[in-house]
């Protein structure tokens, strides 16, 4: 199929897009939540892949090859945007603050994991991940979010295993510190003392 696509066969290219769109979308979705941004990134991935088809020598799967292109493309897009604002309690919506307050008040339970709560949590996660560098965000998402191993992340990204560990360590630290600040503001809002009591 790659050979046919190299010969600029539109139908072959269309088949590549059809077959691997879900995979490319799932990679792009690690970096972006808005559908328009995910689609823009995915489109750029396929156009880039087509222009680089000659570099695909058939070693490894096409899915793995496209995953690497998608990962690097999304990292480049995020690096170009350079927006990593510090997250404060004032930046959060009411729903997000309420979600955090529930965590502090220990009222959250499996019964509260409605679709709406999960969406609020995912929104809040996106805000939190947005404070990290693109590379740190990727390492944390893959290892802590998707249970990927260090060697799997190294293969996807082309980084050394040491670099993966350092990035994940740094990302966890930054995410925890950002969350501590938000929870501190939440405690003050709820009138809780440092032990969590009123």
């Amino acid at each position: 199929m790659a050979r046919q696509a190299r010969a600029e066969d539109e139908s072959a290219f269309a088949e590549i897009v059809r077959r691997y769109s879900p995979r490319v979308f799932s990679v792009a979705h690690r970096f972006f939540r808005q559908r328009s941004l995910v689609e823009d990134a995915a489109q750029e991935v396929f156009l880039k892949a087509f222009s680089q088809l000659e570099s695909y020598e058939g070693r490894g799967s096409m899915e793995g090859w496209l995953t690497r292109i998608a990962t690097n493309t999304c990292l480049n897009i995020l690096r170009a945007s350079k927006r990593r604002p510090e997250l404060t309690s004032g930046d959060l919506t009411e729903d997000q603050n309420r979600w955090l307050d529930e965590q502090l008040s220990s009222t959250a339970s499996e019964l509260h994991r409605s679709a709406e709560h999960k969406m609020v949590a995912a929104d809040l996660a996106e805000r939190l991940l947005g404070t990290l560098s693109p590379e740190d965000r990727l390492a944390l998402t893959l290892i802590d979010g998707e249970d990927a191993t260090v060697s799997e992340v190294a293969e996807i990204t082309g980084w050394s295993e040491s670099k993966v560990k350092v990035r994940a360590f740094r990302a966890r630290k930054k995410a925890r510190e950002a969350m501590e600040k938000l929870l501190g503001a939440g405690r003050r809002r709820l009138g809780l003392d440092s032990s969590g009591a009123h």
Partner: protein, 159 residues
């Protein structure tokens, strides 16, 4: 257990990978150390959020393939146009604005009315504004500085 050791345990790997003994050590330490308890709480919530975010999925819309193919065709068409023609098309607006600017400058330079010159036959006082501007107050009858002062003081004495 030292405070920093607790923090290091929290950050060395995903919380889900902590052993039972590590979790036990953290919990027992957190009972007596507020800072570590808050750090552990923050790490747990942060891990929960990241996991929630990772479980979200997004499927391509039915129109995505159409969109990509359209972009691909446009890119192919662009690659087939000679580079000079592409440059010409993009530079067209620049050339047009330069031509308009040049035409406007030419109109203002050659078509605008010229200024009037004074009639040579009109008598002009040597000390009038016109005389000064036209440089016509040079001559043998021009008073020097001392003569002007004398004239002024002579007027004062008469008064």
């Amino acid at each position: 257990m030292r405070e920093m050791h607790i923090i290091e345990i929290l950050e060395k790997g995903p919380l889900a990978s902590l052993t039972e003994s590590e979790v036990g050590a953290i919990n027992s330490h957190a009972e007596t150390c507020t800072e570590c308890r808050q750090a552990y709480e923050a790490a747990q919530i942060s891990a929960l959020l990241i996991r929630e975010r990772a479980t979200e999925t997004m499927e391509p819309s039915p129109f995505f393939q159409t969109r990509v193919l359209a972009a691909w065709r446009e890119q192919q068409a662009g690659d087939n146009v000679p580079a000079f023609w592409r440059l010409w098309k993009t530079a067209g607006a620049l050339f047009a604005s330069m031509a308009v600017t040049t035409a406007a400058l030419a109109v203002f330079s050659f078509v605008a009315p010229g200024s009037e010159t004074p009639d040579a036959g009109v008598a002009v006082s040597p000390y009038s504004e016109e005389a000064v501007v036209l440089g016509q107050n040079q001559g043998d009858d021009q008073l020097d500085y001392e003569q002007v002062l004398s004239a002024i003081y002579a007027d004062d004495e008469v008064k």
